[in-house]
């Protein structure tokens, strides 16, 4: 093998090895109704639960600027919540207790309504209850 050939093989081998080390990427999407640019944190007290298909809603008294207002939060379907370990009983066990929610506002500007992405009850466990946007 000539010097040029040896260099060529070595360069190709190095290039192949370096290429194999590059990781790949992924992406996801969001529905039409909620505004992924208007997501925020909420803290309050869970007051009630409306467990229905295709989406359950839970209602939280959120205290802001010295005023308490009740917000409704939409979640995944009951089937999905049941399978991911945040079933109806988990919500019921946390009524009248503190809750933290990360959610996104409605595109129509509907007052006091949001789609919940993640939440924590007083046990501090992070739970996914809807699509995460950020």
């Amino acid at each position: 093998m000539t010097t040029r050939n040896v260099l060529g093989v070595a360069a190709v081998t190095c290039g192949a090895v370096l290429l194999m080390a590059i990781p790949s990427a992924a992406h996801h999407s969001f529905a039409a109704e909620w505004d992924s640019t208007k997501c925020r944190d909420f803290t309050g007290v869970l007051r009630k639960l409306d467990w229905q298909n295709p989406h359950p809603y839970f209602f939280v008294d959120v205290k802001e600027n010295g005023k308490v207002e009740q917000w409704s939060f939409q979640a995944y379907s009951p089937v999905t919540l049941r399978r991911n370990g945040t079933d109806r009983q988990v919500f019921l066990d946390n009524v009248d207790k503190d809750v933290w929610i990360r959610g996104c506002l409605s595109k129509t500007g509907k007052a006091h309504a949001a789609a919940a992405g993640t939440l924590k009850f007083s046990d501090g466990v992070m739970r996914q209850v809807g699509q995460i946007q950020d």
Partner: protein, 283 residues
């Protein structure tokens, strides 16, 4: 180039390659370590194909549209390898080739109209073949000689496919799940269906169908834990040529399906408001 130069270049390349291998090794170790931390992993194939008394594969089971054999939505610790139903590199799925007028109709839909057309929003049955192409929930199949019963968790829909060789009706009623006839090709059950309700969509992207829609489903169960479903869509009024899905894999669950009557989607009201806004903007 002198011999010394050659040696220097070679030495540099070898060091670079060694570094790359080392870095890649670290990456592989960290990937392996991440894999070990996943609590939801791909379901292995399992034992041999179960069979009916007549020797044909038995498709009975609760089937998840993912590789895990359990729910993956909204869960942490899911191995990404356990999510897809097929490998887009190994079995690529060609996009449908629409007739120009069909493509124009689809493109004319606004984002909200598209959303309102979705079964997951309007609570209409997904229908066939959408139930196998755009359904994140489970399907329970009860299979016996002469009958394949499909119990769809989503919307509590069900479908009975008679596998006794009966032909397609000459003048089929338009059903959401169509009218079906079946045949075996070896271990593959082939289901051909015609006569579909025109309110369903093939995919949740505006892909509508005509009254000429013909759907061919091919079912195989290569092992205990895997069900493979391939779909062919023929619709000359909408497509320039038939469309074939990749062989999509469903995995065996623990048998639990839940009630899911879709009765009160509050999203519809909001989406109607958005639609009205879109119409106002068009004027």
């Amino acid at each position: 180039m002198t011999r010394r130069h050659v040696h220097r270049v070679l030495a540099t390349l070898i060091v670079a390659a060694a570094l790359a291998v080392w870095v890649q090794g670290l990456g592989a170790q960290s990937a392996q370590s991440a894999k070990d931390q996943y609590t939801i992993k791909p379901l292995p194939p399992g034992g041999p194909t179960p069979r009916l008394a007549d020797g044909h594969p038995d498709f009975t089971g609760q089937w998840f549209p993912n590789g895990a054999g359990q729910g993956v939505s909204g869960r942490f610790g899911v191995d990404p390898a356990a999510i897809p139903q097929f490998d887009r590199k190994l079995t690529p799925e060609e996009p449908p080739q629409f007739r120009p007028e069909a493509l124009a109709k689809i493109k004319s839909m606004t984002a909200t109209e598209l959303e309102l057309s979705k079964s997951s929003v309007n609570c209409m049955p997904r229908g066939v073949p959408a139930i196998w192409l755009q359904n994140p929930y489970t399907t329970f199949i009860v299979h016996k000689p002469g009958l394949l019963a499909q119990l769809y968790e989503v919307l509590n829909n069900w479908r009975l496919i008679h596998t006794d060789g009966r032909p397609l009706p000459k003048s089929p009623e338009p059903f959401f799940h169509g009218n079906s006839t079946t045949r075996w090709e070896g271990d593959t059950l082939v289901v051909e269906s015609t006569g579909f309700d025109e309110r369903t969509y093939i995919m949740p992207n505006g892909w509508y169908h005509s009254d000429d829609l013909k759907v061919t489903e091919r079912y195989t169960r290569p092992s205990m834990n895997y069900l493979i479903v391939e779909i062919m869509v023929e619709d000359p009024k909408v497509l320039l040529k038939p469309w074939k899905s990749a062989p999509r894999r469903w995995t065996l669950g623990n048998g639990e399906i839940f009630e899911f009557y879709c009765t009160n989607n509050l999203e519809l009201e909001e989406l109607e408001k958005l639609r009205q806004q879109e119409l106002q903007q068009k004027k």
